[in-house]
Point group: none
Chain length 214, copies 4
């Protein structure tokens, strides 16, 4: 490092405390702490990215000491895993609620309900989605999380199939096309700034609906 360069920049780092003004030690229920930490991490992951977010950042935002983080999560990667599980759980739940609101027999309407819930949930949470599913590679691509969603949709499609609502050669393949096709169209819209789910839903309904024919 050159001399000139050295003193040009002035540091902003504060000298570590001399031990006086310590944070008061607060004991909190484990669930609350876990939740605080996960939320802090989620916000930071979204804001600055996974790698750019340090454990220091997380604990600073959560207002706890570094060691506390490691009481609740074995590694930094574990928070991500927890967030991912939570995300999928939420996604599937919302879709389930939407589907249940439709009469059992109307398979087409149930598919539309799924589609609309999926689009709405995805548009609303794509930033977190990006973060928690960022590091999927083929090794782990068929993850438990994606499988949860695909299975849900597959079952819906299979039910319609058995009821004669449509005729699909491969329910899983169909589910994958519907799910990933939806993703693709919504991603494109997001990238273009079109965040209103409505037009996306009608386009998708029309296009994807064609696949569900007898």
């Amino acid at each position: 490092m050159g001399v000139a360069a050295m003193t040009a920049a002035t540091s902003t780092r504060t000298t570590p405390g001399t031990g006086r003004d310590r944070r008061p030690r607060r004991v909190l229920p484990a669930e609350v702490r876990t939740d605080h930490l996960m939320s802090a991490a989620a916000e930071l992951f979204i804001e600055k990215g996974l790698d750019a977010t340090t454990v220091d950042d997380i604990v600073a935002k959560a207002g706890v000491a570094k060691g506390t983080f490691y009481h609740y999560f074995a590694t930094k990667a574990d928070v991500l895993l927890a967030l991912r599980a939570r995300f999928s759980q939420d996604f599937t739940s919302r879709a389930a609620v939407a589907i249940e609101a439709v009469p059992q027999g109307d398979h087409r309407a149930r598919f539309v309900a799924w589609l609309r819930a999926a689009v709405a949930t995805y548009v609303a949470n794509f930033r977190l989605h990006d973060v928690v599913f960022h590091d999927f590679t083929h090794d782990r691509r068929r993850s438990q999380e994606k499988d949860m969603v695909i299975d849900q949709l597959s079952q819906l499609l299979s039910a319609g199939q058995q009821a004669g609502a449509w005729d699909l050669p491969d329910a899983r393949a169909a589910a994958l096309i519907l799910f990933d096709g939806m993703h693709g169209v919504v991603d494109d819209a997001i990238a273009a700034g079109r965040l209103d789910p409505e037009p996306l839903c009608s386009t998708l309904e029309q296009m994807l609906g064609r696949m569900l024919v007898r």
Copy 2:
């Protein structure tokens, strides 16, 4: 170089070439060197991942000094960018060749040609694909690279549309569904170890073909 070091009697910097076991200096055309470096990087990225691959690994594999790497790429990220461009170029070229091999007027067949080329190329190169497209986020999701591919397919679809081969409300949306649907199905197959493109192609042809109706 530090100021103090500069005017001190003896520089602290070791003169390159003082050691015994020096690498023989080989001057190579820029293109060749670039290519060597990119290939070495690609193999390593696939083998151990992006982050786990160090620049040292790359230059060791390419058989050059570290500085040589930085002679051709400003940062490690740049190699990735270059690989990405090369990948997309290759993908599009192969698809184009396949399409051109089909008579102009047969739009359905041209689509199938695209599909088969896409599946084949993807299955053959998914590992590199995973690496070079790993860090796409919504900020840059609508990338130049994906757009190249989507545009190619959109044009194919639009041509068929104008010729009355099918009737699509939105060619770009259709292209996205076809492309991402294809990806989803192939990814699932890859994850399951079904690497033979043939069955994938027929399923996809059947399912996706349904969207292309009058």
Copy 3:
């Protein structure tokens, strides 16, 4: 930490404390650690120069891990800043003590006290001085540090002025001439190996004293 590394089965990052020959972890008061690090840095800066001293050198000498250095200083340049502040503080304090030892009314004697303290302190610490003030440029030449010293001397001169001990058109300019003139003569003596402050003091007393006339 890289994304790929994170969710891979085994992290590539070596867990600290895996090795055999680990340094025993010693927790020390922040002030003590800071002081150790600063002293180690000062000695090395003097010995081998600023640039030639690496952070590795400093931590080796201080007997701590590298990370510990960065726990207390944001950058290498920060230690220099801290040393500079400490140096000026010390210089001013010594001069103040010497001045206070002289009766309030004897302004001439107070100036001589300042001069002798300044020469003595400078001769005793010029090596550290050289290091910490090495990279002053006009941009920051009028630094807080030099200003502390100049202000102290200016005030002494102004007090004498008001008491009618001498007549100066510009106290600050006078302070600068006295201070920098002192520096120049002492530097020349140091360069020539004449490190005894006594002859320097008498020459300076005589020469500089001429400026302090009614």
Copy 4:
């Protein structure tokens, strides 16, 4: 390096030429080349500092290839040395011219001429001065360059001494005080943005003149 961080930045580095558009080889007189290189270096040193200026920067500015630099200077430090010599030469010459313009016998006026020339030259070139004299340490403080200037002034003072114009116990010490005192006052003015030499000269004339008494 993290994945997210990697592609966030886009490189600006141009791929090295493929060998076509090479610079035309121009053979120039050695002196001209030397001069071009020194001037380019000087501007860059002033602009971005010594360390921050790379040999690449210099050759880019001078419009020559890197190897050419090493034809004319053995090391980067050598350019600085050359600039320093040139600077001192210039300083002494200007002072000499100013002194010679004054009648031999008028020693007081000769000193004033020196002072005014020195202030004017220094104010006009302090940026280059800062750069070329930046890395003076006590080891080399009594440099050939400073000695040239001090000797010149010492001789002027000794001549006045012998002629009975003033009475100084130590001509060299006096020269040092005058020179460094001048520096200190001018530096302070520069730092404060007072770049007009006139007021500086009168203050200095008055203050420093007091030392030159019988």
